[in-house]
Symmetry: C2
Subunit: 228 residues, 2 copies
DNA sequence: AGTGCAGCGTACCGTACGGTACGGTTCCGG
DNA sequence: CCGGAACCGTACCGTACGGTACGCTGCACT
């Protein structure tokens, strides 16, 4: 509600030329961070004029917002939930989303964009952060929450508050990886698939129903086995 | 262009006058973000001259590094582990650290500093991020890990890899709160004590030994004597 | 062909910032 | 009382960046 009129709502789409420009800008951002993302630099990298940049995106902040919405629009590949039932199927679907989440969060572009939004966020005001949360986290939360509630309807999971359960699952999957990456740390040998499987397993141990937790007591149930 | 030898290792200490200046700089950063942290602005806010800033801290980056080490040196309040034994005592100690962690992470200065370091981190290079990880996370990890291993020695906990267990505990405590805060979100009604108690409870359900997991089954009690 | 529009490239402007230099003041040791 | 060191306040410099203006080219439409 507080968004000034110039802020993008994220629903807009851009011409192919503009997409190419945004792609160049993202590359520039990934490469050199925010301070490499000058209007002159973007114009040079994209072979366009600064005047066009300002015509298309208003000002520099508009360009940044457009970069976020553009990037998030590219990731919009949501496979429809399969109708499979049962604990194994649910675990597999959860693990799939978890792997996807981990890979997205660790991606160069995502990290650069998050750094950008975080870097310019202040006390109360955080225009880009809002955009990023809306476009980046909301979809994941929606998908995971839907899956969790489906699992609850099947009596495979037992939890009271969906949002709370989702957050715990998120914590188990991501832990401190995201912030560490944002701070410049490199994830040493963290295998996304392994991490995801372990997180899902732990989540089931916490929120699985008794009759379904039983057979999984021997921690190996979740398909993927830890090698260590 | 690589870091000049002036980069702080973190062990240095500053004169009272310099501490006051750093305090002013932190206030400025908290208030207006990185772009409010100009050398002229710091000098004005601290009633010192720019020349002194450059003499004391080398350049702007040196000032930023000094701010981080200074702030971390202030938080160095580590209560010695009490010798109490048993599951309840361990849980209480873990919860205490967890609450402390949550409060620190959500603090204005911590958030501002993390935003600063993240905002200027790039692909490989992340001078400030390294400093922040070294001074901010390492101590917490050390304390928590020591506690976890003590619990394992007492046969209260069962885990193979301490670092893995620590990370899972961290994920259960913090979840996505940190990144959300960094992005400008406000934690709605997340009560640190409540969150910490729940995380510790969940952690025990995952890694507590069988004989000790039993009594905790009634998940509401969980020994939060802190009435948070 | 003529006309208008979109866009490229470049030049330009104002400002803000990092960093340096300098004069004036306070304080301390001798 | 003297000399110097530390330091404040301010002025100054060069540069870089956001934003604007302008001239030119190519294309679409009639």
């Amino acid at each position: 509600m507080a968004s000034p009129p110039s802020i993008a709502t994220g629903n807009e789409t851009y011409s192919p030329r503009q997409n190419a420009v945004l792609e160049s800008a993202l590359g520039l951002l990934v490469e050199g961070g925010e301070r490499a993302l000058t209007t002159a630099g973007v114009a040079r990298a994209a072979n366009c004029s600064k005047e066009s940049l300002y015509k298309w995106f208003g000002d520099r902040d508009g360009l940044l917002a457009a970069m976020i919405t553009f990037q998030s629009s590219k990731v919009k590949a949501a496979p429809a939930a399969s109708g499979a039932r049962g604990r194994a199927a649910l675990a597999a679907q959860l693990a799939g989303i978890a792997v996807n989440l981990l890979k997205v969060l660790a991606g160069d572009v995502s990290l650069a964009l998050n750094r950008l939004a975080i870097g310019q966020a202040r006390r109360g005001e955080a225009d880009l952060g809002l955009l990023l949360r809306e476009h980046g986290r909301k979809p994941i939360e929606t998908r995971l929450s839907a899956l969790l509630e489906a699992g609850r309807r099947e009596r495979l999971l037992d939890f009271a508050d969906t949002r709370e359960a989702y957050r715990t699952l998120y914590g188990l999957i991501v832990r401190d990886m995201h912030v560490r990456l944002l701070l410049g740390d490199s994830l040493d040998g963290e295998e996304p698939a392994k991490r995801a499987a372990q997180a899902i397993d732990e989540f089931f141990r916490l929120f699985g129903t008794e009759e379904n937790t039983g057979p999984a007591r021997e921690r190996t149930g979740a398909g993927n086995e830890r090698t260590g």
